[in-house]
Symmetry: C2
Subunit: 593 residues, 2 copies
């Protein structure tokens, strides 16, 4: 069973991702290290003791649609209530509406723990948090007054209604429509698919954020508006009232996250309410809906990235525990009696160390991204811009590298278990089933790569990415200067990776500048992985250097070295694919017919 790695999480927050320094410098108000520790400890307890047991049973049971009602797994509504009562839903929520306005870093760390215990369960608040953010930033005062308090407390959950059958990655072609009915109100009509927690029995109301098109809207993405559509209209006293004209038509039969209902939602079918059309309220301006959605989507992308970290952590824990317990054969050099624990076999050790390195690397990337978001909020002017650009740059990498790591690590976890890994009751297979959605939703990892290359690299004419690479060089230099033999060739390996990243970055910026976009995009995915791997090396080194200096870092130094000497060499191949792969890819299109 999952046990939250609270110390590791705290270490990564403080010594790798920058929280410690920010606290010392007083950049985060009166937040203290002690409070951080207390929050993490309690989140860890709740995740491990309360959520994790129901995560397993919830996966077996799954969400069900019965007579038009979505029934979540046994115990989940009560679990959700207890979780809300712990104040977890409002950790970063606005203080005016009952939130604690704590840094994103803390919420991301907590999200890691909720997701590791049950990704299907954690999806409910993840969506609510996104909806809170959209309403907070773009909603009218009236909308905020009516909805935010209940959403921040978690009494009401939120959803994001974007996808339609023909409109997934490309939202510009969506067909759902909205009609003005006066007084700032609209009637919404249409069908949305893949709506996470679109309908369920764990909260008193569900607040749908819905993208739709006004009758006179321009075509494409510039004609999309965002609407708030509650399941139950809200009475004058703030209580849920009449049922709105929206319902869940069906739920999907999915590979994983079985406890999370994935709904097809029908708006304006006339099933509920006196008048046809789901009553909705505009969020932000008409035809500016996509921009509103993007504000929240950035954080949602980070929240999905952390799902990858969470699954990787949980899968690694399970595999390490099994490999220590299961005995089989005799590993070279085994001196014990009988068979060795399989962890003694070099191949199993290699697999487990790779899992550890990918988990810790992706965790650091996600936390660093959250830190950049936090500092962009508490700083001003050029500094705020720089932090915002750092966050923008890190977001696609955090989303893609971590979710790929989630899938890969979960798959390795099954392998470590041998035949038992394929048996559902073991629990290792669930991690792979759950993990597999994360590279897809909130913008596929391919979309993230396009975003990284075409929108993030050009930030400040490339200065944002170049400045970041410069910082990574600083890490490699510190590593070289440490002169600690235990690092092996880590410094050289990290330097080489950074050089690969720099060469690929330069080539991409030049190629984009020359207008050869197809060529640049051909290498977008290898580039994204190159960036993530290099960051993994750099962040493991940062942690190892921080720990080494206080004399307790043997493990961190060893893991840094393992990653540098076994995983980082891939960067050369990735760089080659970026700068030299496009021509062969174009030529090979003929293969695809």
């Amino acid at each position: 069973m999952y046990k939250a790695p609270v110390e590791e999480i705290a270490f990564t927050l403080n010594h790798v991702a920058g929280l410690g320094a920010a606290l010392e410098e007083g950049r985060l108000g009166d937040l203290s290290g002690d409070l951080v520790d207390a929050i993490l400890a309690e989140a860890g307890r709740f995740a491990g003791e309360e959520i994790a047991p129901l995560g397993e049973s919830g996966d077996r049971e799954g969400a069900r649609l019965v007579d038009g009602k979505v029934i979540t797994p046994k115990g989940w509504p009560a679990l959700y209530k207890a979780w809300c009562e712990g104040g977890w839903n409002g950790l970063t929520g606005p203080q005016d509406f009952g939130g604690q306005a704590l840094p994103h870093m803390l919420n991301v760390a907590a999200l890691e723990m909720w997701n590791a215990a049950s990704m299907a369960f954690a999806l409910a608040p993840t969506l609510t948090m996104g909806a809170i953010e959209a309403v907070s930033k773009h909603g009218s005062d009236e909308l905020k007054q009516t909805f935010l308090e209940k959403m921040v407390s978690g009494e009401w959950t939120g959803t994001m209604n974007l996808t339609e059958p023909h409109a997934g990655s490309d939202l510009g072609v969506l067909k759902s429509r909205a009609e003005r009915v006066g007084d700032g109100a609209y009637r919404i009509f249409g069908q949305k698919i893949f709506i996470t927690w679109g309908e369920h029995d764990a909260a008193d109301n569900i607040i749908h954020l819905v993208l739709a098109r006004l009758p006179d809207a321009p075509a494409g993405t510039r004609g999309i508006s965002l609407f708030l559509v509650p399941k139950f209209l809200v009475n004058a006293d703030g209580s849920p009232g009449e049922r709105n004209d929206v319902f869940c038509h069906s739920i999907e039969h999915k590979l994983g996250i079985h406890g999370s209902p994935t709904c097809t939602m029908i708006f304006g079918d006339g099933k509920f309410g006196a008048e046809k059309g789901a009553l909705g309220y505009l969020v932000g301006e008409e035809n500016k809906g996509l921009a509103c959605m993007f504000t929240m989507m950035n954080n949602a992308r980070l929240a999905v990235g952390i799902q990858g970290v969470a699954i990787a952590e949980a899968a690694t824990q399970k595999a390490v525990a099994y490999a220590k317990e299961r005995t089989q054969g005799k590993a070279p050099g085994w001196q014990g009696s009988g068979m060795s624990p399989i962890i003694e076999h070099p191949d199993i050790a290699r697999t487990l160390l790779t899992m550890k390195a990918l988990t810790q690397g992706s965790r650091a990337i996600c936390y660093a991204c959250a830190h950049a978001i936090d500092l962009s909020h508490v700083t001003e002017g050029e500094e705020a811009k720089a932090w915002a650009e750092r966050a923008a740059l890190l977001t696609p990498i955090a989303k893609s590298f971590s979710t790929d790591a989630g899938v890969d690590v979960a798959s390795m976890g099954i392998q470590v278990h041998g035949g038992m890994g394929f048996i559902e009751e073991t629990g290792a297979a669930r991690y792979l089933r759950d993990a597999r959605i994360a590279p897809i939703y909130e913008g596929t990892n391919g979309i993230q790569a396009i975003d990284l290359v075409t929108r993030k690299l050009p930030l400040s004419d490339g200065a944002a990415v170049r400045g970041f690479i410069g910082e990574l060089r600083g890490v490699a230099e510190k590593l070289a200067a440490s002169n600690d033999a235990a690092f092996g060739t880590s410094a050289e390996r990290l330097s080489a990776a950074i050089a690969d990243l720099e060469a690929a970055t330069d080539w991409l910026l030049e190629t984009l500048a020359a207008g050869r976009q197809a060529e640049a995009l051909a290498g977008a995915t290898p580039y994204q992985r190159l960036f993530g791997l290099t960051l993994t090396g750099a962040y493991l080194a940062t942690g190892a250097l921080a720990a080494a200096s206080d004399g307790a870092g043997e493990k961190r130094v060893a893991l840094c070295r393992f990653a540098a000497e076994n995983l980082l060499a891939e960067t050369a191949a990735l760089k080659d694919a970026v700068v030299g792969g496009a021509a062969s890819l174009e030529a090979a299109r003929v293969v695809l017919g």
Copy 2:
């Protein structure tokens, strides 16, 4: 729906794996190219039209244990009967017992098609073929007379009963026991787990091959004997008679291959028969059971490798079809009206081409392995030894590289489908669920790597592997000599990969010779992948050169180049991990606590 790539299979057999030349040289008796084509065409038809539709429904339905009986999915018993009536079960079976004694290559090609249509279904005959081989090679004349005809026809299926709860990769510790009861008969007692098709309703009898230990057997693997234990004892007239004391206690709830019952078998519980103990007959000599099992296991390993190829092919077909149909966004340079098919987006094209290259590479490796087995049977002396060594060397690579490719390609296939890929009804997820067992069973891929490094590399003092690498050099030289610009830098890339393989091989042989086994084993898995990737490059080049010379090879040349310029660069990193990764791995054991 899967459509067998009959032309591609025939091309790979003939022009990459060596069948064409062997036929021309008359090495395979009176087998003609026309007969090969006819067999492949009919196998392809049966797989695509008969098996594939029931593969999907069978996955949904799954095998069930009801009142002690295992019920396979609807239509499967009739499907199995039709398949047997086509003569497919006896393709390579002994002629004396109704088999056609055709080359292994043909059976491996056919197995690819059965598995692509339904891996769960194809497992039944896969296990039977292994049992036929064991009985043919090691069984007494009486056993052969009694059992082989019905097994070759497929009327009776076979199983392999190896694993026990505490004995998986390490069979030396198994506890099932056998008692002598005279007349060459034994009574078997014990529990076996993970027995594929151990019990079912599709055949009149089930012939279990069971590893067990005699009372006076030495400890460890040298004290294991192999027994044939029929579900129904055989009457004097050859018909199934009295029920033997063996039954299926439970079936597993698994991630995939839901149609294939994975049974826990109980022998000698006294549930059936007048006397306690399952009646069994010795196969081979007492205490030599493991050797008998290994004879058949080599072919079983290749048969599992081909499952990886099969899933990769089926997943690729589905993804390519979807990517041509699904439109979303506008790819760079897209001139059509509206959205582009997603296959136009460079990132999707890269994914699909990677899937194609891995599928064709692993197919060629498996077929080449089968060819080596075939030629080892029809040649003599040194030549036969060389072919047997080639087969021995290729077997772990065929098993591991192909099954890893199966998992990776199936996962990529889900990704190409976006959100639809996560929905079970789409069918892409099934491929990942099914594929995931193949790197585990028949010896985990980690066990394959140990086998490759410690037992196969030292064959003929390293001459076997060095000779093979020499042949690969020949391919690279031909490629360089072709002077065809369409190959891009394929020749250089392939040469570099071969150099990496050679350097890693030399290092491993030296390290083993120096007795530093732990160090060698630390790099076993990266070495195995390095070998597989290099072979992929070499075999794609072989095919492209063969096709280029007859002027119809544009696609093959382009795919060869894509693989060379995008996938082969990884070999440098793998070589580094082999020759330089052990120290950091050892040092990092402290991380695992």
